[in-house]
Symmetry: C2
Subunit: 661 residues, 2 copies
């Protein structure tokens, strides 16, 4: 071995003796119980430190900051100027032109009256503009949540036979979703959303988008009867069992508009400057389609149209809630499931755009805004709204500056509601189907799935299971599969942490995994193991078995090769950032096992938390503080020193030594 190694070796031996080591690994200064409790609670519920700006401020300023915290528009209105207004006007009109046809389409998807889609683009954006802290979110209904509302409520009440009850259940579900969102936000439980992993969401959204597209076959083919199920097999059976009823006029029209929409999308993607072309395309399609039907009277030749839409803004609906009905549990379930979905999408979208523009949003506060929006929305004939990705992306591309673009959209929708609803009479449903399909296709993120396959096979499995669950089962089954797999993944992660055998990296004092650094050299007579995770009750048993197995393997290997026998087991605790009582018991048991085999347990680099608990549980005493070292290198140095000077077993002789070192 080179001189550097020897040099280090020397440094170690000269610079260190057993006494000096004693004080090297510090037990951190004790903290009062309530202070550490406070720290823990803060990390759990306020990881983003939302109260940061309140620090060291006078009381009156604190009050203003508090108001601004809950109503962020108070913060930006004073700074609002004509430049902002111009940008927001353009963005607002652009998203309104997308919101109107999309709103109507999604309401149809949820078996709800089309006008509800417009209502839901009027009141909620106003509330969000006051309470939301994202500058880019454009409020509106979500395709998947609409579909889910429709299918879950349909299982209890038929939307065609009892449309009134169905509508009231939808309002109730929206109220429940809103209450849930506000509650989660106030209790700062927003991190629940984190338990849906990225892979799960990719799979679930892709599956939901596929299912939504399949549902559009009804509109495209102009079918009157259609299955209530959403799975692929039912839909295909439904479509092909009535192939004599397919309307070619409808299908041709649908395909033309779909082609048009996809073409504009493709064009806008190539030239981002012309984002407005794809943003305006849906409204253009609606206008063109309506004109076509009006002049050709296609509504009499198999092309269904929206028909009469009531003029006027949102009627109140708080008298319509059904709490004391046998159907309430269905509304409750629907509200909870769709509420969490809407929250997940809205918070994720808000965060992504905040990341682009480099400002902060507080997920928990966003939840309160979404919740209030849905509570007040449910009282004014709106159904579930959130911050859908595609509409927000258009808003962002259109150059919105503040949440005022939502107000502009809201006013545009109000004008539509007050004066323009008759214009939608001739709008063919097939155009709405095309709009939905073109929006949904972008949600099937096959590239992300390929990326997952490349990086992490288990994540890909989770993703594809969620996808197949939605497509072949139902949206709910898919969601359950996705959540169950995500939780299973966490449990597997925490119950089977990695352990590594370490070796000395040549020409350094570092000890690293021999798997990763094949040229790292193990030290004869000493087994060095790294534990790759905090030790909890879920993995304590496994780690004990695994470490004993490593020792067995090493002893077997040494026996076979006839090398020097094992004397020391060094555990590198760098990665053990925390430990619970089960973990401490595990270490105690391990020490007993190691002692019984005439080996010596040595700890390297235990962290503060670990030292505190080892100290309190008297494990340190029983181990001996001289067997706790700051680095693996020092631990190895100390072990070698002991081996050389005390030679605990006769099987060790100078020759083997110098050959191996």
């Amino acid at each position: 071995m080179g001189t550097t190694e020897e040099h280090h070796q020397q440094y170690m031996y000269t610079g260190m003796n057993m006494e000096a080591c004693k004080n090297r690994v510090a037990v951190p200064p004790p903290q009062p119980f309530f202070k550490s409790l406070q720290t823990n609670l803060k990390e759990t519920f306020f990881p983003d430190d939302p109260l940061r700006q309140f620090k060291n401020q006078p009381k009156s300023r604190k009050f203003i900051l508090g108001l601004q915290y809950f109503f962020p528009f108070l913060e930006w209105t004073p700074r609002y100027n004509i430049g902002f207004l111009k940008s927001d006007l353009i963005a607002g009109i652009t998203i309104a032109s997308l919101a109107i046809p999309q709103g109507i389409s999604y309401a149809k998807l949820g078996n709800l009256p089309p006008i509800l889609g417009l209502y839901s683009s009027f009141v909620p954006p106003l509330i969000y503009a006051m309470m939301g802290s994202s500058r880019d979110i454009a409020v509106g209904t979500l395709a998947v949540a609409s579909l889910l509302t429709g299918s879950m409520l349909s299982s209890a009440v038929s939307p065609t036979e009892n449309p009134k009850l169905f509508l009231h259940l939808a309002f109730t579900a929206t109220l429940i979703a809103g209450l849930l969102e506000v509650t989660l936000g106030l209790l700062r439980l927003g991190f629940i959303v984190d338990f849906l992993s990225h892979a799960t969401i990719v799979g679930f959204m892709g599956g939901a988008a596929t299912v939504v597209c399949l549902q559009q076959l009804k509109g495209i083919l102009g079918l009157h009867h259609f299955t209530q199920s959403t799975d692929l097999i039912s839909v295909m059976r439904s479509v092909f069992s009535q192939d004599h009823q397919w309307r070619w006029e409808s299908a041709v029209l649908g395909c033309c508009f779909l082609f048009f929409l996809l073409l504009t999308r493709y064009f806008s993607k190539k030239k981002p400057r012309f984002f407005w072309i794809s943003a305006m395309a849906p409204l253009t399609s609606v206008v063109l389609g309506s004109l076509l039907v009006y002049f050709t009277h296609a509504e009499k030749h198999g092309v269904e149209v929206i028909g009469y839409l009531k003029k006027g803004v949102n009627p109140l609906s708080f008298q319509d809630f059904v709490f004391f009905s046998p159907y309430f549990p269905v509304a409750l379930k629907t509200g909870i499931v769709t509420g969490i979905l809407a929250l997940a999408e809205g918070v994720a979208v808000g965060r992504s755009f905040a990341m682009f523009k480099n400002y902060n949003i507080d997920g928990n506060k966003e939840m309160i805004a979404f919740g209030m929006m849905n509570i007040l929305g449910s009282c004014t004939s709106c159904y579930l709204t959130s911050g859908p990705f595609c509409r927000s992306a258009v808003n962002y591309n259109a150059g919105c500056k503040t949440a005022a673009s939502n107000i502009v959209m809201s006013i545009a929708v109000m004008i539509t509601l007050l004066f323009l609803t008759p214009l939608f009479y001739y709008t063919p449903l097939v155009v709405l189907s095309s709009i939905i399909i073109s929006a949904m296709l972008s949600l099937i993120d096959y590239k992300a799935a390929i990326h997952l396959w490349k990086i992490d096979k288990f994540d890909f499995l989770v993703c594809i299971s969620a996808y197949l669950g939605v497509v072949f089962g139902s949206v709910e089954i898919g969601l359950v599969i996705a959540v169950a797999l995500s939780i299973l993944r966490v449990l597997l992660f925490v119950s089977r942490p990695r352990t590594f055998v370490l070796g000395n990296v040549p020409n350094s004092v570092c000890y690293r995994s021999v798997d990763q650094y094949p040229n790292a050299q193990t030290v004869p007579g000493i087994l060095i193991l790294e534990i790759g995770s905090p030790i909890y009750f879920t993995n304590a048993g496994y780690l004990r078995e695994r470490i004993i197995r490593w020792i067995d393997d090493e002893e077997d290997r040494l026996k076979l090769s006839g090398e020097t026998s094992l004397h020391y087991v060094i555990l590198d605790m760098s990665a053990v950032a925390c430990i619970d009582t089960s973990g401490i018991s595990m270490l105690e048991e391990l020490k007993k096992v190691v002692d019984r085999r005439d080996l010596k347990l040595v700890l390297a680099n235990p962290g503060g938390e670990l030292m505190k608990k080892l100290d309190r549980s008297r494990f340190l005493e029983s181990l001996g503080q001289e067997w706790v070292h700051l680095t693996v290198g020092e631990a190895v140095g100390a072990c070698r020193y002991m081996l050389h000077n005390y030679k605990p077993k006769s099987d060790l002789n100078g020759e083997t030594w110098s050959n191996n070192v």
Copy 2:
């Protein structure tokens, strides 16, 4: 600063340049997909490597080893000798003398006919002796599981009004528990038991023991009517509402025997050589109590007795299972809950004693043994059995050598069943109550609770919640609270990992947490953070927020103090043993944020798994391999080198530098 520091600094600068670093952190050699899958599956389901001994053996030997694996008695019978027999005989007779009165008592506790307790100490021990691999477990019924069986089944069927159905449900529940145990064992899902943390079990067992003791007030006070509930308030109300019915004869007798039992226990604890005194005490109490009643005719003066017990060994009971009854769901639920409880106790007891005597037992195989024992038991009029702690401890203390002590106990119980049952006619119930109370008191492990409080406050909270849930709610409520808290604990653990700011430990190249080592010195212009856990989807969002907050804090601090501004953020990835795709995305986002602030992200010591995924996801490319270092020390060296030679910002001058270093 001292010369050692300078020396190291020099070493770093001379020994390293940017080019040399490039190849330092290795991306581990790629592994074929199926090989890594195989490794993962092995670690998940076979962490203890039970097939170890089959390696490199001829086929015939493998067959024998396989037989021995499932029937361990084949392994020890050939080596069995007269010395073993002597020890096992003594141990077997000792545990039989405990098993007979305890069996009868526990059966009463579960509202089952007393004779069932004897049946359950006859067949299951024989099966365990053949299939079990623990040398110390003494098979028998469990107090808590008996109570739980009784109370769960009572909620559906009254044991007094419909004793036959009640009994059949108990057999069915036992069968289900057995099937569940075998299934879990065969699928090697034994690690499910690990999800009950030590703290949970201490609290739950203490609570259950308290509840069981409270139930004995019925026997001690000689009450005829008693509440079906198990919670403290109901029991106290029941006891004090009928204080005119208390029988002093019964109470006096009970207290005397309880005192006697506790005294012998205390004596045996002080002098472990006389373990047999406390082991024989219950049988002695039964004999003394029976004689007393026989001679004083106390059964006519308010002291209830067991009465007639049928002679003869276990009748068959497989014709009694109720699968197609409305009560089946109750039996199913009871079977699952009690089965898992019995498993948890049995496996834990087996493991502890194996640890003492330094032999290995395979938890999953033990489960199969317990399961078979309960399946065959349920066909021969036995109810749920496992390896109870107190009986096994007596067995161990009595010096048992092999599972043959169970056979001896079984034969002793058989003789009792065939010839001696009439002797129990006059046994007073109050003696049984005393036996239960004295056994239960040792389960209330208040010392463990104090230990938990000292070491880990959250673990204590979990423990005390489980205790209070059982005592003031019910056994089931306590169990649900315990499991929910355990899972919540895991989720909190994984979603809120620790992060530390690192500083240079004086006179070393090590960088350690400044919280733990208050004398560690931070490096000006460089923020060094350690991430204390693998990065998963559950903590990725939190870690992003937390790291950004650390950067904010550091920048604020530097601004206030007027020191040099921040230029580099070094992430010490030592503890990040694995990562998923959400974690990779988090790092990508973090890099964007850091870049936008004109800072540079540097990684130190990423592990193999991490490097592999960073490489595949092209994060390494975008970061630049020269910003990945083997140690924090080298990363700091490289950053300092860059700062000195390129001075990215004008705020940095030589003076500040030398003052701070």
